[in-house]
């Protein structure tokens, strides 16, 4: 397999810089990648590379990466992996935010003695009894 080009050669100008010590600095927009996604991605890679994070101009974060081997192609490989991990982690963060409400309701239902959601997954007002919807799934859990 042919060697990957360095991010500094393949990404738009200024997005990646290579330093004399072999490290690569990636400039990331927080409009695209949240700080949470950036931190998770760093955490995944700290066994393979050294990482330094710093805020840049407004809305940007600089992540400097250097493979622990000090090898330039290895640093490039880690940097590409980091960019892929960012997409992965950002997707996880977005899904987590989008599904936070339903997740909280499911957890509340699991630990509650009374129904907090009906057969359709709709919230039940406290004190009211959920109606039976014949077309819905009516058994939530195995009957003991």
């Amino acid at each position: 397999m042919s060697e990957l080009p360095g991010p500094e050669a393949a990404l738009p100008q200024g997005a990646a810089i290579r330093f004399e010590d072999g490290a690569v600095r990636l400039t990331l927009s927080t409009d695209i990648y949240s700080v949470g996604a950036i931190l998770r991605s760093c955490y995944w890679l700290t066994d393979r590379c050294y990482v330094h994070l710093a805020p840049s101009k407004d809305g940007y974060v600089e992540a400097t990466l250097l493979a622990k081997t000090g090898d330039e192609p290895e640093t490039s490989s880690v940097a590409w992996q980091f960019l892929n991990d960012l997409v992965d982690n950002q997707l996880r963060v977005s899904i987590q935010e989008e599904t936070a409400g339903i997740r909280d309701m499911i957890v509340a239902q699991a630990f509650s003695d009374v129904d907090v959601i009906d057969d359709r997954g709709r919230r039940v007002e406290p004190g009211s009894t959920p109606g039976v919807d014949q077309s819905a799934i009516t058994t939530w859990r195995p009957v003991p």
Binding site: A23, V35, G36, C42, A54, P55, T64
Partner: protein
């Protein structure tokens, strides 16, 4: 092109990523390997990491220390 922040001494650690308590904990944990001095600034700390002679390669100790502080800070961030 100059060297990166991973080779700078002192290195600037911004509190938005590097938690101050974690920095102090890491400094304590590394006292057998390095003498760490922390100069507080506005939203950042300037950190000088001097490996204890005979411990390990000085540059490696500095970089491992930075990774350790970051790991601690991320764990704290994700747990909150």
């Amino acid at each position: 092109m100059a060297t990166s922040a991973l080779s700078e001494q002192p290195v600037v650690l911004y509190h938005s990523f590097y938690d101050e308590d974690c920095l102090r904990s890491a400094s304590e944990a590394y006292k057998s390997f390095a003498d760490v001095s922390i100069e507080p600034g506005d939203g950042l700390s300037r950190v000088t990491i001097n490996a204890i002679p005979g411990a390990s390669d000085a540059v490696t100790v500095r970089r491992e220390f930075l990774n350790y502080v970051l790991d601690l800070s991320i764990k704290k961030h994700l747990a909150s």
